[in-house]
Each structure stands twice: as structure tokens, then as C-alpha cells.
């Protein structure tokens, strides 16, 4: 019985330790390396890290060298079992602005170990409200515009279904 107690304590401490001592900034650098292989670079960001989360302030996302979007803040919460990324105030830059000046107030991505190949997303912005998912296994993205507001700039890439407007893409 005592051994079970010690083992549980050990596992709890290990989990807490893994969370507390996680080198969040260095893991973020590693993620940047993976993104760079896809020609995506996150630049201009100020990195703040604490025990709970990693915050990127004013990052600019470059794709193939071109600046595409800027966000006010990105908060990454790696809770190991449930992880989340919350991005606030995303605004398009450069040509992306010309093509459709859409701003996203909040974008939330949630990942759970129970569904390791599935990322749930929720968002709201000038286009209304949307939710969807990323299927990591099949490299598939699906977004439903649940409460459309001003979707005219997006209509070119959206499809109309029974439930309303949606976006789908393979990556």
C-alpha cells in the first residue's frame, strides 16, 4: 500500500516537474525550426515565459519571406495533457490586407492527449464567429462560420453547405 502511495506521489511530482521545468522558450525555438521548413517564420516577437505559459508579443508571421499577418499576442499554454494556443487581435499585412481586410479578435486552438491528432479551433472577428478543427492525420482543415457577419471578402474561398458557409483545405 505504501509503495502504491509513493509511486503515485512520484508520478504526480514527475508530471508537475515536467510542466514546471519545461524549457518553453527552447521548445518554441524548435517549433520555429519546423515552421521554417514550411517557409513560415515568426518574427519581431518579444518572448515572455513563466511557469504557466509562454507569451509572444506582437509577432509577425512571414510566409515565404512576405509578411502576412501580425498579432497582438500569442499565449501558449502547454499543460501536457491539454494544450492550448490563444491568439489575440490578428490583422493582415501587406497584400493580405489588400485582398481582404479581415481582422480576427480571438483565435483559440486546443489540443488534448485524448485526441492527439485533432486540434479544435474557435475564432471570432470581423467575419463573425467560427469554429472548426484540424485533422493532423489527414492534413485537413475544416472551419464552419457559425455566425457570419461580414464575410464578403472571404466568400471567394468559402463554400456554402446545408449548415451555412464553411472553409475546407488540405495542407
Amino acid at each position: 500500500m505504501r509503495l502504491v502511495k509513493y509511486t503515485l506521489l512520484f508520478l504526480a511530482a514527475l508530471l508537475i516537474g515536467l510542466y514546471i521545468f519545461m524549457p518553453k522558450t527552447q521548445l518554441y525555438y524548435k517549433a520555429e525550426e519546423f515552421l521554417a521548413q514550411k517557409s513560415i517564420v515568426i518574427g519581431n516577437e518579444k518572448i515572455e515565459s513563466d511557469l504557466r505559459s509562454l507569451r509572444l508579443l506582437h509577432p509577425v508571421v512571414y510566409f515565404q519571406g512576405a509578411d502576412l499577418v501580425r498579432a497582438e499576442a500569442v499565449e501558449i499554454k502547454p499543460y501536457l495533457l491539454i494544450n492550448s494556443v490563444i491568439v489575440t487581435n490578428i490583422e493582415p499585412l501587406g497584400i493580405a490586407k489588400e485582398l481582404g481586410n479581415i481582422t480576427i479578435e480571438n483565435l483559440s486552438l486546443k489540443h488534448s492527449v485524448l485526441k492527439p491528432l485533432y486540434v479544435k479551433l474557435e475564432s471570432n472577428g470581423t467575419f463573425g464567429e467560427a469554429n472548426g478543427y484540424i485533422d493532423l492525420k489527414n492534413h485537413f482543415l475544416h472551419i464552419d462560420i457559425t455566425k457570419p457577419k461580414n464575410i464578403q471578402p472571404l466568400q471567394r474561398v468559402l463554400k456554402k453547405g446545408e449548415k451555412g458557409w464553411y472553409y475546407e483545405s488540405k495542407f
Binding site: R2, A13, G17, P23, Q26, K30, F63, A66, I95
Partner: protein
């Protein structure tokens, strides 16, 4: 406190500490072995320079070949000196007609005494050494003095003088027929001013029409659609999916299925080039698109006037 409970507390603390120490150790090893110490920053931007004057780089051999003046000695020693008897008193004698500015090379097109010369950095024309190119200004040096020369400087002076002369010309008497003729003429000239036309191999885009589209990218999207053309995950250009029939874009010589592989000599292997191209539209006077149509490579040349 009994010996039993004491050992239980100690055991619990040891288990907790062990868990924490192992967690720290695991992360330290992973960080040391696999995780980078520095992040990746966005690379310094470069900008695609538009061609300010139409010049077909592929077909004009004198651009690629070193410039040798007719009267220059046969053995050319760098820096190349092009000698001529008459030396211009002022740099204004040169008309800076165009430039080609890329990461690899910088070329300028100079007209002097009715002849066109193409100079690269370090070359000399009539004693003036072309030393650098800053935006639309070519910098020459002679006898230690610096001579900046703006693009189209002389031409603009000429056209301004012409305009002044035409304004000074007395108008015809106030006859209605003459007025009607004038109005018709004005309408025709307005229509002509918005019509895309061909001059030899070059497609001339009227400036008013160009500006109209430049300030309304949505209008462009309605008339033409092109998407990145990927080969083995690498972008090799833009494939034209749609060109609206009868639109101004249908007169540009671009067809559905064409793959635009470069703009002004810059390969379209990333999104930065087209984005820079759109950003620089307001200063663009000419452009060369290289397209792949089937197995054929074509150059489409445009000039904004």
C-alpha cells in the same frame, strides 16, 4: 510522532523530490541534446525593383555583352573606358532612360547623342564612371566629383517644355463645328487613353487604366486569377486559372493555363516577389513577365504610358 509515520513522510518527500529531479533532468537532457538555443528571425527584406524603362533583357544582346564603344581600343581593360572626342560639359547631356536593378546586377540605360548605352557598375561613359544606383538615381563620378542623374530627368524637362509650347499655341475661333470636332476628338482621345495597344512586341498599358486597376486590386481579382504553381512542394511560378473574356487582362497576352515563372527577371519561387511587385506598382513604368505556355517559354513585355 511514531517511527512509522516519520518514515512515511520521509518516503513521500523522497518520492516527490525524485519526481521533480527526474523531470528537471529529463528536460535538461532534451534541451541540451535536441533543442536550439536561438530562434529564427525573419530575414532582411529585399525589394523587387521594377523596370522603369522597357528593355527586353533576354533579347537585347548589348545588355549581356560588355559594352565596347566603336572607337574604343580593342583590348578592353577593366574598368572599361569608352572614349569619345566630344566630352559633355554637364551630366545633363545624358538621358537616363531606364534601369535594371536586381540582387545580381545593376544596369542602367543611357542615351547620349542619339545612341543608347547600357552600363553596369564600374563602367565609364565619356569620362563619367557609373558608381552606384540609389533608387531612381544613378551616381556617376568624374575627377573626384559626384554627379547624380535622375531617371527620365532630361525627358521630363523636354516633355514639360513641349506641354508649355502646346499650351501657348493660340486656340481656334469659337465656331460650334470646331467645338464639336474638339469634343469628338476629346472623347476619342479619352477612349484611346484607356485602350491597351501593342507596339511591336511590347504591350502598352495606358497610365490612367493602369492606375485604375492599381488602386483596386479587387477589380483585378474579378478579371484574372492565378494560384501558386507547385512542383514537388517547391513553388515554380503562378498558374493562370482564369482570364475574363473581353476584359483588359485578356488583352495582355496572358492565357488560361499559362505559368508565370518570373517577373522582371526575378523567379517567382516565393510569394515575396509578387508581393513586392504589387507594392511597387505605383512606381512601375515597365515590366517583363516570363511565362511558360505548354513547352514554350515566352516573354511578355509591358510598358505603362
Amino acid at each position: 510522532m511514531s517511527q512509522n509515520s516519520k518514515s512515511s513522510i520521509v518516503g513521500s518527500l523522497v518520492a516527490l523530490l525524485l519526481g521533480l529531479v527526474i523531470a528537471k533532468g529529463v528536460w535538461s537532457i532534451i534541451a541540451f541534446l535536441y533543442l536550439p538555443k536561438k530562434g529564427i528571425d525573419a530575414k532582411e527584406e529585399y525589394s523587387l525593383k521594377p523596370l522603369y524603362y522597357h528593355y527586353n533583357l533576354a533579347s537585347k544582346k548589348e545588355i549581356i555583352k560588355p559594352i565596347v564603344h566603336k572607337q574604343a581600343p580593342k583590348k578592353v581593360v577593366l574598368p572599361k573606358v569608352i572614349k569619345k572626342k566630344i566630352v559633355p560639359e554637364k551630366i545633363d547631356s545624358f538621358l537616363f532612360k531606364g534601369l535594371y536593378d536586381s540582387r545580381e546586377k545593376k544596369l542602367i540605360v543611357i542615351e547620349y547623342q542619339g545612341k543608347t548605352y547600357v552600363l553596369s557598375i564600374g563602367e565609364v561613359l565619356e569620362g563619367y564612371k557609373f558608381t552606384s544606383l540609389k533608387g531612381n538615381t544613378a551616381i556617376f563620378t568624374k575627377n573626384g566629383k559626384r554627379y547624380p542623374l535622375d531617371i527620365f530627368a532630361k525627358k521630363e524637362k523636354k516633355s514639360a517644355a513641349k506641354q508649355g509650347a502646346s499650351q501657348a499655341t493660340p486656340s481656334a475661333p469659337n465656331a460650334p463645328a470646331a467645338q464639336n470636332t474638339n469634343r469628338k476628338g476629346q472623347n476619342q482621345s479619352q477612349a484611346a487613353a484607356l485602350t491597351i495597344r501593342k507596339e511591336g512586341e511590347t504591350t502598352i498599358i495606358p497610365k490612367d487604366l493602369f492606375d485604375r486597376y492599381r488602386t483596386n486590386i479587387r477589380q483585378i481579382q474579378k478579371s484574372i486569377n492565378a494560384v501558386p504553381y507547385m512542383v514537388n512542394g517547391q513553388m515554380e511560378g503562378f498558374r493562370v486559372n482564369y482570364v475574363k473574356k473581353g476584359s483588359d487582362f485578356s488583352k495582355l497576352g496572358i492565357q488560361k493555363g499559362d505559368i508565370i515563372i518570373s517577373v522582371n527577371g526575378e523567379p517567382l519561387n516565393n510569394l515575396k516577389v509578387p508581393i513586392e511587385f504589387f507594392r511597387n506598382l505605383n512606381t512601375m513604368r515597365a515590366a517583363t513577365f516570363t511565362i511558360k505556355r505548354g513547352n514554350e517559354i515566352k516573354e511578355l513585355e509591358y510598358e505603362v504610358r
